[in-house]
Symmetry: C2
Subunit: 108 residues, 2 copies
Amino acid sequence: MAKYYCMVQRDSRPRVDAYESVFGALAHAARRRVLLTIYFNGGSMTAGEIAAIFERAWPTTTRHLQVLEAAGLLTHEKQGRMRIYRIQRKRLELVKDWLAHFSRNGKE
Amino acid sequence: MAKYYCMVQRDSRPRVDAYESVFGALAHAARRRVLLTIYFNGGSMTAGEIAAIFERAWPTTTRHLQVLEAAGLLTHEKQGRMRIYRIQRKRLELVKDWLAHFSRNGKE
DNA sequence: TGCTTATTTAGCGGTTGTACGAAATATCTG
DNA sequence: CAGATATTTCGTACAACCGCTAAATAAGCA
């Protein structure tokens, strides 16, 4: 009866949850597009600018923005009655970190 | 009335669909764990070995394997009555490719 | 104050995803 | 062939997700 590496991460729970929320957020095409759109428009946009670009109803976009923010991929600040969403590129590195598991040098 | 980059990818549909399936597959913790587990066990494992490690019922794991395979992250071959799943590391580079959009040099 | 603009919250159908147990398929073994 | 092993397919129940409309909140403006 052979033994296998199980890849359960018992500790570092915050990191596990972080993967969960980040990968979850990136799982939807609209949310990936939101990130790209904000990024290519200089890193920040108001909710209205974002919502105007997408076909969905505004509340739908709001929801996506919230998912992205919960994942730490966006932050927002108020400016008057507008909310400015700013991309957190650093957070995307979590994905890169996860991918790095598969690039141990020494393996083909 | 300002104009914004919209980030709609009208062409290259296969690539868009590929993102969809790959990010979708990675959105579930169990599937991410399957990939890591197979990778750290040498790149391939039988369905039974994989199913034995996870708490879920076997049919559930089968489904996850199918999702991963549909995304191109795994392939399988039959060997007798066993099915050997093999990781396709190359496919993970799609994720890296997508991330690369956010690392234009010249930007802070 | 009352009207407009900006944006979110609430609530509700519809679709999709997840997990399970039972049954089916396929292969090996005696 | 009969039985055991390996794995998937099927059918179902439940939860999560998505998108919508209507209503609420909040800020700016006359």
